[in-house]
Structures are given as C-alpha cells and as structure tokens.
C-alpha cells in the first residue's frame, strides 16, 4: 500500500500551465532585477545590475520587454482560463472562499499547538490561493501604474499630473512587496518546506496528494472531480467560445500594442539650448 501511494501519480499541472509558469518566473525575475537600479539608483546592487546591462537605457528596454512578455502571459492566462471555465466547465477551484480563511486559521492554530488537526484542503490550499490572488493584485497594480509611467502624456490628458509620481511610488512599493512576498511565501512554501516539483514535472504522487490536497484526492477517487464533457458538448461550446476568445484576443492585443505605442513620450535627441553668441566684445565707449 505504502509503496503504491509513492508511485501512483496524478497530473497536477498540464503542460501549458507549466509553460505559463516558466514565462512568469522569467519575466517576473527580470522585472525585479532590472527594477532594483531604478528604485535604488545609489545601491551597489543597482550599480552592478546596471553595469551588467550596459546602462540605464538598455536596462529600461529590458524592463519594458519583460513587462510586455508578462502582459502576453497574462492575456494567454485569461484566454485559457476562459476555455477551462466556459468550455470544459472545470470547477473554479482557485476562487477564494470562507473555507480558506477557516483553513488558514486552523493551520496557524495547528502550528502553534492550539488544535491537533491540520486542515484538509482541496485542489488549491489557502496558501496557494493567497499567492495566486496576490499575483493578480500585483499584476493589476503594476500594469496600471506601469502604464501611467510609460505613457505620461496620454495619462495626464485624462488624469491629474500627480498620478504619475503617485504611480511611480506605488510601482516601487508594490515591487518591493511582490519580490519579498515571493521570497518569503513562495520560496518557503514550495522550495524549502518541501521541494514541490509538480510545477515542473506536472505530477504529484498519491502520498503528496494525501498530505496536501486530500479533498481533491477524495474527489478524484469518487469520480466527482472535473469530468470531461462529451465531444459534442465541447464542440458546441467551442463554437461559442472561440469567436469570443478571438474578440478578446484582438482586444487584449490592441491593449498591449497601445500600452507600448500610444505615445512617443520624449524626443530622443534634443536640440541643444541655443546659447547667445559667445564672443561679442564690448564696443569701446567713444
């Protein structure tokens, strides 16, 4: 029995999920690293990163490129989530619920010894949901404030000028929060506590499932987990979803292109200030 639960595996993340994750890891890390010299221009770390990338203009280019990649990642995520929810009618297991709060409190009480039982959780634990929604919040804040800074002329046509430095303040504060939250919560939760390889292999053993997602395991065993709709139903829903998705895709694509290109903020070469004639000797008083 014990041998079986060590070898029996369940798919946790299909391959597109894993690709999504890698895209986010790469773009997030790049954004964080290239953000350091911009938030802390006097720091040694900032200077080193700046040096490595060959100056502030290159660094900003890399930062912007990583941001664009993350925007595409986000757009892709929205499209596939739409497919998952509308076509496949998967359970919206990532939505937060009151149970998550209860689970969190129970886990904390268990840790400090107030209760004997650790909460039994389903497909996503409260820790995972917290991180996911923190990422959603972070992406929204960083995207909005990033837009204000990237396109200050367009922004100040509709908003007070003060929103731009406010966006900069929020962008920097949120960045610090996001990077440190990843280091504390994510690194501890899935690398230190136990190196959870599911996001790379896509698989979890039954033993791991029993530990971390016992309710999901129960559902799978009971056959009440996500059931694949029949072909005809999928086909029918696809016929509805694909045009919507196409429309969404165009909209998001336009959004991203607009984000990048809505304005030419500054001229890249500026005419030098015209200094009055340099050599104008005083005419001697007659």
């Amino acid at each position: 029995m014990s041998k079986k639960i060590e070898t029996q595996t369940y798919e946790r993340f299909p391959v597109w999920r894993r690709i999504e994750h890698i895209i986010m890891v790469l773009s997030f890390s790049t954004l964080g690293l290239t953000g350091i010299p911009q938030k802390y221009p006097s720091s040694t770390a900032g200077a080193a990163i700046l040096q490595a990338l060959g100056g502030i203009e290159n660094l900003r280019f890399v930062h912007h490129t990583a941001a664009i990649i993350m925007m595409f990642g986000t757009a892709w995520h929205i499209l596939v989530m739409g497919y998952s929810v509308f076509v496949m009618r998967d359970k919206m297991s990532m939505l937060p619920s009151l149970q998550d709060a209860k689970d969190g409190i129970q886990a904390l009480f268990y840790n400090i010894g107030f209760v004997k039982e650790y909460p039994k959780m389903g497909r996503y634990t409260f820790e995972e949901k917290l991180e996911y929604w923190a990422f959603v919040w972070g992406a929204a804040v960083m995207g909005a404030t990033g837009f204000l800074m990237w396109n200050p002329i367009t922004s100040t046509r509709y908003l007070p000028g003060e929103f731009v430095p406010a966006a900069k303040a929020a962008h920097g504060g949120e960045a610090v929060l996001a990077v440190l939250a990843i280091i504390i919560w994510h690194i501890y939760g899935v690398h230190i506590k136990r190196f959870n390889k599911a996001m790379f292999t896509g698989l979890q053993t039954e033993a791991e499932m029993l530990h971390e997602h016992p309710l999901e395991l129960d559902e799978i065993k009971a056959g009440s987990a996500n059931r694949r709709p029949d072909r005809a139903t999928i086909r029918k829903r696809q016929m509805i979803y694909f045009p919507i998705a196409a429309f969404l895709t165009l909209g998001m694509l336009a959004g991203i292109i607009g984000f990048i290109n809505v304005e030419e903020t500054a001229l890249t070469t500026i005419e030098p200030l015209t200094e009055p004639q340099i050599y104008v000797p005083q005419t001697p008083v007659p």
């Binding site: 100056g55 502030i56 904390l108 100040t156 430095p165 504390i184 500026i270």
Partner: protein
C-alpha cells in the same frame, strides 16, 4: 689721457650716472627691505643692473607716447598712480621683469605686425612668476581656440591688465576677495557681453551686480578659472546637477535665503534625475535626452521660480520647458514632475498617501507571512522532536 678724454666728453653724464647708481642702490635697498617683510608669491628672474620703474616712468607717464603698429595704436603711457595701486607694483615687480627685451633707451624696435601679435609676444613672460595659472590656461577652451587659429581668445593680459591689476586674493587668506568676486563678470563681459547681459538680469547676476552679494556664483564658480572648459560638452551637461548642487545643497548659503537644500535629492529621486545620475556614473560622455538643472531653470538667465513672468513655478511657464522634449504634453503634464517637493499632505498628497499606504501595507503583509512561516517551522521542529509525523 683716456680718462681725461672721457671726463671731458661726458662731463654732464658723470653726475647723471652717479645719481642713477645711487637711486638704483637705494631702490634695491628699499626693495630688499620690502621683500623681507612681505611674503613673495613669485620669484621672477631678474636682469642684472636693471633700470628702476621710476626710471621707466620718467618717460612713460608722459602723454603722447602711443605708437602705431600696423593699423593699431599701442598705448605706451602708464599712469603711475594706477600702476602704483597694482599688485605688481605692490610686490615690487619691475617693468623690465616683464619687458625683458628692454633695459635702456632707445628701445629695440617692436617687430610685431599689430597690437594682438604684440600681446602674444609679451604674455608668455607671465609664466615666469605665475606658472601654475599659466599651465592651467594651456588646458583651457581659450587656449584651444588660440591653437585653432582664433587669436581673439583670451590670453593672460586680456583679463589681467598687468599695469593695473589689483590684488585679487587676500594677502594672508589667499581667498578671492569680495571685491574681486564682484569684478569677475565685468572681466569676462569684455568678450562675452551678450552672456553678461543675460547674467546680469538673472537671480544670481542681479544679486551680485546690484547688491554686491558674493554668495551667488560668478562666472568662475561654474566655468572654473584659467583652465576653463568648454561648457557645451556632453560631460559638462551631464555633470550640471552636481555643479549646481555645490551651492544648492549647502545650508550655510541656502538657509539665509530660505531655499531648500533638498534639490539634488529630490531631482535624483525623480525619473529624469535618476537617469542622469545613473548616466553620469556609467557614461559621463554619452548624451542623454533627460533634462539637467539648466534645461528648466536656464543657464545664464536663471530667474526666481516665482518670477511672475518667467518663473517655472507657474505651470504654463514650465510646460514650455517640458514641451522641448515632450512636444505633445498638455497643461496637466508639468505636475507629473514634483517640482523638488517632498511629498507631504500639502504638496503631492496622493503620492504621500501612496507612500504612507505601502509603509504600512508592506510590513503588514510580509510580517503576517513571516509569522506564519515561523509557526510552520516551529511546528515541524516540535513534531520531529516528538516523533509525530507531520501532515
């Protein structure tokens, strides 16, 4: 016989030569006494048996000595009072220390074709005593212009008339005297009159020329003296914020006028300043399109920010500056720049609120996370000690 002949032929010359020798001796003695009690800043190479200044002035105080050189008239009359007030006279420098080719009358003929060429043959003697300054000038924009064939560029004597130049630095302090500071722009204005006209109306120039206020920068505070560099280079531009900051971050100067010393910090903290600072460190010689102090405040014509006509505290005035690089900017755009303010409830309250929010939000979120992680670590340790299997 020979002696008799000489006596006879130069009978009147004997008394002149004797009295001259006596005078020379007395002067030399006086010079020796003076030089003993006053610090000598420079040690010129002296001619042997050189004629005294009075000897030269005997003729050269006369009017009508001006002579023609090409098309130019060379003034050769020296006002003894003016010369007497000069630092050179004060230091006991003799005419022939500089006019090294002259020690008697008649003088050798001037070979230069015009006045400028004549000055060029003479000014090199300044090096004898003022080698430091002379060598610095070799590195200057003026020397570069001369090397490029522009003989209008200043040489020593254009700024320092050797016959009238007063003492510029305190005898004991070595510091530039207030009077000398006030006079500097006038010196430069001899060639740079248009720039002087702009400077004189600026907040700095007005204070200097009208109030004799020496807290404000004169030409040399920004451009240097002697080794003046070309101010239109990229490196000069990129280093401008640090140049202005020399005074503008000094509370000893700024507090008197109620001007904040936070201007550099607040500039560096904002988009443009961060870029320029990083640029200045990485590529001091590479052009950047980000503005430095002078792009908004002006160069020689810097005015008070609250000047109702030109002050950039007025959004309309600042917008014009913004539009130089941001041609599409509209009226709300200038307030995207925080005008050197620290965000506070009065100035930039939204920025202040955002900062305040994150000041509490970041520690609250991270603190909660750290607390939970610590309890998790604690439980794992307790469980492993107790031998309980952790979930």
């Amino acid at each position: 016989m020979r002696l008799g002949k000489q006596i006879r032929s130069t009978h009147s010359g004997i008394s002149l030569r004797a009295s001259l020798t006596l005078l020379l001796g007395l002067l030399f003695f006086a010079y020796a006494v003076v030089s003993f009690v006053t610090p000598v800043q420079a040690a010129p190479v002296y001619q042997e048996n050189k004629p005294a200044n009075d000897f030269c002035l005997a003729c050269h105080q006369e009017d009508g000595l001006d002579f023609k050189l090409g098309k130019d008239m060379i003034p050769a009359t020296i006002n003894p009072t003016q010369f007497g007030n000069s630092v050179h006279s004060d230091e006991g420098i003799m005419c022939v220390d500089c006019h090294t080719d002259i020690n008697d009358y008649p003088h050798p003929k001037v070979k230069s074709k015009n006045a400028r060429a004549f000055s060029f043959t003479l000014f090199v003697v300044c090096k004898q005593c003022h080698e430091d300054q002379f060598l610095k000038v070799q590195d200057s924009v003026h020397q570069r212009a001369i090397d490029g064939g522009n003989t209008n560029a200043a040489i020593c004597t254009d700024c320092h008339n050797p016959h009238t130049q007063g003492r510029l630095t305190g005898k004991t302090s070595g510091e530039l005297t207030p009077a000398a500071r006030v006079h500097i722009p006038l010196t430069c204005s001899k060639c740079h009159s248009v720039i002087y006209d702009a400077y004189k109306t600026s907040v700095h120039g007005n204070a200097l020329t009208q109030e004799k206020n020496t807290d404000v920068p004169t030409c040399i505070d920004c451009h240097g003296v002697h080794n003046i560099q070309k101010p239109t280079t990229v490196s000069f531009r990129n280093s401008t914020p640090f140049l202005c900051a020399k005074c503008h971050t000094d509370p000893a100067i700024m507090d008197k006028y109620g001007i904040t010393t936070n201007v550099l910090n607040s500039y560096v903290a904002d988009f443009h300043g961060t870029t320029v600072k990083l640029f200045e460190e990485e590529f001091p010689g590479q052009p950047t399109n980000k503005p430095v102090c002078t792009d908004c405040h002006g160069v020689h014509n810097i005015s008070k920010v609250d000047n109702p006509k030109t002050g950039i505290a007025l959004r309309e005035n600042l917008l014009v500056k913004c539009q130089r690089c941001h041609p599409d900017a509209t009226i709300d755009f200038p307030s995207a720049w925080m005008s050197h303010y620290e965000p506070s409830p009065e100035h930039y309250p939204i920025v202040y609120a955002v900062n305040l929010f994150y000041k509490f939000f970041i520690p609250a979120v991270l603190g909660g996370m750290i607390f939970f992680v610590l309890t998790d670590i604690f439980r794992r340790i307790v469980n492993s000690i107790k031998g309980v299997k952790h979930v």
